[in-house]
């Protein structure tokens, strides 16, 4: 077995944790060397000079993979950079993130994608790239997807907006199918949404804010599921937020449509009642919805209808969040809180297994992004999402599900502070994170 590209040379021991292996959770220690798990046992010999990381009381599993990260570079480096965003990701337990293409310029050319991948090469969290479906994300002319695919791009999306023209969407899916890549959609029919900046419901009516109905999302989910069945393309639905979307995906999966779906932690934990104070930190697209949607999303995530949790980490500078609600841009930070929120809602709240937690945070997103070793890896991305075994790449997270902490936004690694959980008491936190065997986070602190 070969050491992965950029592997950490020094040995590391992770001791005292509950380790997720093929057999389930086991109390094991492990030794990592040259980026590989080399030993696994109830007690292991500590190699000379090894760094020993305490995992007692914590879970040890594959580090997380985020399918939906807005790193903002290039173009909006005041809000986030690849450097700050990947540090935040590592602190959140992520071993890899997929950078969304709505940068300035858009990631619709090989040059821009190349630049992002190059800059992410030595980051504390691996950076994969999603490419735009259409030039400038304008929804008209197909982007040169084959050129981007040659750089290892596996996911294509115009995220920030959906492809409005059904004819363009159909052609893009056909093209994606030919390339063997995945078409990913931000589902929002703009005509139905009609400028709504919050969920259309009791709260939009009380607050006098323009709302968009759940149907704005569901109409495009339904269209894309039909087009995926028509074209045979692999479809990934980004940040689903409504009960109706969950039901549509459930039915499509039962019919055998090649669809996967993700949900964001904020849609699993916050409702539109949070909008009461008109704080733009709660403005997000798709918008926060009433509790019945939140329940349906948790059900869908638990029963496998929804495959993955994805942050939709969307940093914005404080200036932009000091605007009136309807003028402020949508988006929330997510990387440093996703694991806590997901664990609390899904495992503690919903009784899902710890295995399911790692499935939705690591294994499934790695598969969808083809960071599970099946994709082409011209930029040397390592293998993610695997349960721990001797010989696997040491992309590992040590997550303490018990620790209680308060989120102070000025202590986040992200450049921006627009977290909806500012000041919130959270349970569960990433203690250590190893990337290709290197402890990039120890005791909840970045080592870089």
């Amino acid at each position: 077995m070969n050491a992965p590209f950029g592997a950490f040379e020094h040995p590391v021991v992770v001791a005292g944790g509950q380790v997720l292996t093929e057999r389930g959770l086991e109390r094991l220690d492990l030794v990592v060397h040259q980026g590989i798990v080399v030993e696994l046992g109830a007690s292991v010999d500590h190699p000379a000079g090894a760094t020993v990381l305490d995992a007692s009381g914590a879970l040890v599993g594959p580090s997380f993979v985020d399918l939906h990260t807005h790193l903002r570079e290039p173009g909006r480096e005041q809000a986030e950079t690849i450097e700050t965003g990947t540090r935040a990701a590592a602190l959140g337990g992520y071993g890899a993130v997929v950078a969304m293409p709505n940068t300035e310029p858009t990631m619709d050319t090989a040059a821009v994608v190349h630049m992002v991948l190059e800059r992410g090469r030595n980051a504390p969290c691996e950076v994969a790239a999603a490419g735009a479906i259409t030039v400038g994300r304008l929804g008209a002319q197909l982007a040169p997807m084959a050129e981007l695919a040659a750089l290892g791009v596996e996911l294509f999306t115009d995220d920030g907006t959906g492809v409005q023209d059904g004819g363009v969407a159909r052609r893009a899916m056909d093209y994606c199918r030919g390339l063997g890549v995945t078409y990913a959609e931000h589902c929002e029919d703009l005509a139905i949404a009609h400028g709504g900046c919050v969920h259309e419901g009791a709260w939009s009516a009380l607050l006098g804010l323009p709302g968009q109905p759940a149907a704005a999302e569901e109409a495009m989910v339904a269209r894309d599921l039909l087009l995926a069945a028509t074209t045979g393309a692999r479809l990934h639905l980004l940040h689903l937020s409504t009960a109706g979307s969950v039901e549509l995906v459930r039915q499509a999966k039962a019919r055998g449509v090649a669809v996967t779906a993700e949900v964001a932690p904020h849609h699993l934990s916050l409702t539109d009642a949070s909008l009461k104070g008109y704080d733009p930190c709660f403005k997000v697209n798709p918008p926060l919805r009433p509790a019945e949607h939140l329940e349906a999303l948790l059900d869908g995530l638990n029963d496998g209808t929804i495959d993955a949790v994805a942050t939709d980490h969307a940093p914005h500078t404080p200036e932009l969040k000091d605007l009136p609600f309807d003028q402020a841009p949508p988006g929330m930070l997510g990387l440093e809180t996703a694991a806590s929120i997901t664990y609390e809602q899904l495992v503690a709240g919903r009784g899902a297994t710890i295995e399911r937690f790692f499935e939705v945070m690591a294994t499934q997103p790695a598969k969808i992004a083809r960071l599970d070793g099946t994709g082409a890896r011209p930029f040397g991305h390592s293998v993610h999402g695997q349960r721990v075994a001797v010989g696997t790449t040491a992309n590992l997270v040590v997550f303490d599900p018990e620790v209680r902490w308060t989120l102070e936004v000025d202590q986040l690694a992200s450049k921006a502070t627009n977290s909806p959980f500012s000041g919130a008491r959270l349970v569960g936190k990433v203690r250590h994170c190893l990337l290709r065997g290197e402890p990039v986070v120890t005791d909840a602190r970045s080592t870089r």
């Binding site: 939009s204 009516a205 607050l207 006098g208 804010l209 000091d322």
Partner: protein
Amino acid sequence: MSLGPMPQHLVSIGDLSAEGIVEVLEVAESFAEVERRAMKKVPTLKGKVVATVFFEESTRTRLSFETAAKRLSADVLSLSVASSSVKKGESLRDTVQTIEAMGIDLLIMRHGSSGAPLQASRWTEHAQVVNAGDGWHEHPSQGLLDCFTVRQAWAEQRSMAAAGTGATLFEGKQVLIVGDLAHSRVARSEVLAYTALGAEVTLAAPRTLLPANLDHWPVQVAEDFEEALGRADVVSVLRLQAERGSGECVPNLREFTSTFGLTEERMDRLKPGALVTHPGPMVRGVEISSRVADDPRCLVTTQVHNGVAVRMAILYLLLAGPRLEAAAIGQFAGAAA
């Protein structure tokens, strides 16, 4: 006069209790009395600085507030943000904090975005905030002056003084609000104010001009507008907010007028003594016919007139409540030392 506890800011009618609303109406009655004198000015707010900050122009509301402040002897700063250097995109927080740094005590704010005055109230250190209309959300002083105006008219119908009647005249009254409810800040303030005072509120509009969800509104929706007119004690007619996109919500103005306009024929359906209000500016021939607008039952000019007394009451209650008394005591103590 005893002063009930007043909120720090007046952003929504919901910031006031029912007693608080009555307090505003009663205090406004005494200021209306002042207005009838030759010397209309009282020294109540001498030394206080009030700023009108309008991010969206509205000459009548601004003038009404500024007249109210001047009659109370407050210093008035008039900042027309809509036409100044502040462009869409500049941080609202910066603007608000800059204005507060000019040493103002109370900020009267009009903004095209719902919630902007509430946000502003979180960003001021000491200055109090009064919402003079925000987006589709609320226009509390308008809601209060509408209640004040109809209470006065009802008292007059009974040849009694409105002062001292509290909320009694509102008990069981039927208020019918008609027109563009979805995009109306006046509608939300009226619904809250009238229902708090004990009246029952019914809404009438094409479905496209009603908020999509009325689950938490203490109102009924009229199934039959003509029938609802026959039951109404007050008809509040709202303007079609064409500039807020309501034009596309109806096929054309003629159809809107023929289905929900207050025409002369519909005026004939009103029961004796029923009143009509309109927050202005009216679009004659669309939501209200010209003859109806000039009908003595239509109180629109009285509303404009009463606006000053009601806004005096709001400024007085917010600025001269217990907070001011504490400050005054401090001043005297300082003078003694």
